[in-house]
Amino acid sequence: MKSLAELQAIKDKMKSKVVLREGSEEIRVVVGMATCGIAAGARPVLNAFVEAVNESGLAEKVTVSQTGCIGICQYEPVVEIMEAGKEKVTYVKMTPEKAKEVVEQHLKNGNVVSKYTISNNKD
């Protein structure tokens, strides 16, 4: 069984990183998690982002957070990527697979995956 001692060990490990990380977050990934987003599959998309960001070693500069309804429910799951000094990028109709691709291409290498952005997916 998982023990609190294990959690204590995680804490000790994290503590040494905390100071370093504060204020170093440059990119924000925001996943729409209102009724519309959740019904369309936002939960696995959010989890894919959290996992892929950490596995690619991007946790220091990328934060993944949740928000309510953005107002474009027909395009859910919707993910917005905000980066200081750059225009906001809105990805639509996301899936966990697309999320992994966005982490790899956009967050890691800096190339917007334009085939998934809203401007290229208007019905």
Binding site: L7, I10, K11, M14, A34, R43, L46, V50, G68, C69
Partner: protein, 184 residues
Amino acid sequence: MKELSLNVLDVAENSYKAGAKQVCVSLQETGNRLTLTIQDDGCGMTPDILKVVTDPFYTTRTTRKVGLGLPLLRMAAEQTGGGMTVKSVSEKENPASHGTTVTAVFYTDHLDFTPLGDIVSTVTTLIQGHPTVDLLFTHETETQSVRLDTAELREVLGDVSLAEYEVIHWIEDCLKEQYEAINK
């Protein structure tokens, strides 16, 4: 919603929006009856709002004019022969003790019962999104139970956030292990 756990995620989000300090999500199974309770100590709702809260054309949201969270949960419960009740005390009525309790009853042997689905993922998603609010999650069957209380975890973690990837992973494993043990 494809899974009941997605309704849980959706409706529990309201508790956080209401400024709750603690949210309790409980599932209780007795025979063919599943009772879901989502309870918070948030700002609550006045009787006027409470009356219209399961009307799909009422919402606090300003981006569009419909709110489907509670109506969808009510539908999921009613289509199994069960139902949903919402009790609430607003901050105005009682500044010392306020909050909202949503209770939904499902009959799990009904053809139209929506399977619970990935409830562990719902719990970790709620914690990841709201690491400073305590969540008490319990799932009780007649003989066994699964339990997670973030207040206990935060005592160990100190100022390390519940939203840290490693912590979320630990919580996920902790819940999965408990479910494996009761499903044996």
